[in-house]
Symmetry: C2
Subunit: 327 residues, 2 copies
């Protein structure tokens, strides 16, 4: 399957965001916005956390997955089943949404997926197919079973669902000067940046995405001008940020709405992971710490005294993974 | 120093709670009440978390310490300095409050205090005296320097300050059926239980305290009828719950307001610690997990479908302490 299998759609707009917000009411957790006095002191800013680690299923992914299924249901097109591919968080989220709506879910996952994430998919009744060929297996499953092939990050309803994170940030903070978002395939930052830019076209704040330099599908895609798979297999301690490629829609959203995407090293992520746990007391997975890694690496300048929001993408770290921190 | 050095005071009342709430406005974090869908599913109840790990300084202790200093300031009796004793969380909290009010703070801490907690005291400008004789050193420092000796949990203003946790729970939840509170010296549960019982004398819910069986000062004191030090030195992976003795006031509050105090093993705490991190995505220290340990040990029965609140006391776990989880 080549990148031409991606379907280009319009950028997220106010109607799509409002519809997502309404659909998700009572389905996902309206996460609080939590100030961090310690990060504020240490970074010389007013720092807030948007803790999607506390979200149902332990990551923001449930917003997009649920919105995608509910949008199809609203259009009278709830499928007999759904298949998707994921390192784990979108897999669990889709299983969770599918269970709530009575739709069977099959997820294609890499054989090395984090155990916590595998367990989560099973907890919510999802069926797992382990495969190195995520996209090939995904499209085969869809064809063989007559299921809808839900793209994990490039589907417009997934992007709009993630956009509710941005709407909630706007509702809860003073006007942010800087919003920092972890980047994998780019679905989260597409939705968040879209919500921020669309809700207030005059907003002058910055939105910065952060991805591991060993899993830089979005940066690579931006340079290539298309969601080409990077030549080296993507892999990072931030396992949630290592899809095989970006999307045509997420690249379009990043180009339209995001100021910059920066890349951080594995060592920087590991150090920032402990620092996030210790300073914020939020149990995040490594992916949730890349924003702080970027600041500590000098890649993002913090506006002195400004309002800074860290989107914490998820908290599905494994018990064995914690061992990396205890030494 | 014998237990006769404790000063018996009246039980916390509505006026003391209201005064504490007003004093602490803008000084401490109004922590959110966060539902846990996973714990709700697993325990068959509506489970909410009161995450004082997210509180300034990483524990609830700042509520009591700040209220104690502000109450003295309101009475025109802000001391030239304050000294207290603590395994760490109350130490950091008092240093934090002292810094805000310009009052020097000296804390007596055990030599084996968790590094994270030692760092926290220093971060907030507190002076540390390491000593095995916490109470003796505390009273000596007070005498030599002319400082106020602030009791870490038995001071009535400390108890009232902690009571604001209970007021916030009442404001944010449906009427709780069961509130579970970690117990060290008993200051937190005294305030929380006082707030719940005083605010609604007709409330029929249960309040259960949980302490490590290896650090059971309150259970021991209840049996002895006084805050006698248990014969064996108190020590637990839940380092925040191991004071040398309970207090006359905390014992009186527990007798008046609390249904039961149960004791959990070290193994149960260790298992529950990981389970809390994994299911709630809150970074708690082991002390914050004793409530779940008690349920998993069959010591607390959960009312089916009822509203259950876990008070998460703090999140100041050490990096090296995580090694206990990684095996």
């Amino acid at each position: 399957v080549s990148v031409t299998s991606f379907v280009s759609t319009p950028l997220v707009d106010a109607d799509a965001l409002a519809a997502a917000e309404e659909r998700l009411l009572g389905r996902v957790l309206r996460t609080p916005l939590v100030p961090s006095l310690r990060l504020s002191d240490e970074l010389g800013a007013q720092v807030f956390l948007k803790p999607e680690n506390l979200q149902h299923t332990g990551s923001f992914k449930v917003r997009g997955a649920f919105n995608a299924l509910l949008a199809r249901a609203a259009a009278g097109a709830l499928p007999p089943g759904v298949t998707t591919f994921s390192a784990g968080n979108h897999a669990a989220a889709t299983a969770f949404a599918g269970r709530a709506l009575g739709v069977p879910v099959v997820v294609c996952m890499p054989p090395g997926a984090v155990a916590t994430k595998v367990d989560a998919v099973r907890r919510y009744g999802g069926e797992i197919v382990f495969t190195d060929d995520l996209v090939g297996t995904w499209t085969s499953v869809a064809e063989e079973r007559g299921y809808t092939a839900l793209h994990p990050f490039d589907d417009p309803d997934v992007i709009a669902g993630h956009g509710t994170v941005g709407l909630e940030i706007l509702a809860d903070t003073p006007v942010p000067d800087l919003v920092i978002v972890p980047v994998g395939g780019g679905g989260l930052i597409s939705g968040v940046a879209g919500a921020l830019r669309v809700s207030d076209p005059g907003w002058s704040g910055r939105i910065v995405g952060v991805e591991p330099s060993q899993a830089n599908a979005v940066s690579y895609g931006l340079r290539a001008g298309a969601p080409e798979p990077p030549p080296v297999k993507q892999s990072s301690i931030a396992d949630g940020l290592a899809p095989p490629f970006a999307g045509v829609n997420t690249l379009a959203h990043v180009r339209a709405f995001v100021d910059e995407v920066v890349e951080v090293t594995e060592d920087a992520i590991r150090d920032a992971w402990w620092e996030m746990l210790d300073t914020t007391k939020m149990f995040v997975e490594p992916s949730g710490a890349v924003g702080l890694a970027a600041i500590r690496s000098g890649l993002i300048s913090v506006p002195a005294g400004g309002v800074v929001v860290f989107v914490l993408s998820g908290g599905n770290a494994s018990r064995t993974g914690l061992a990396a921190l205890s030494s």
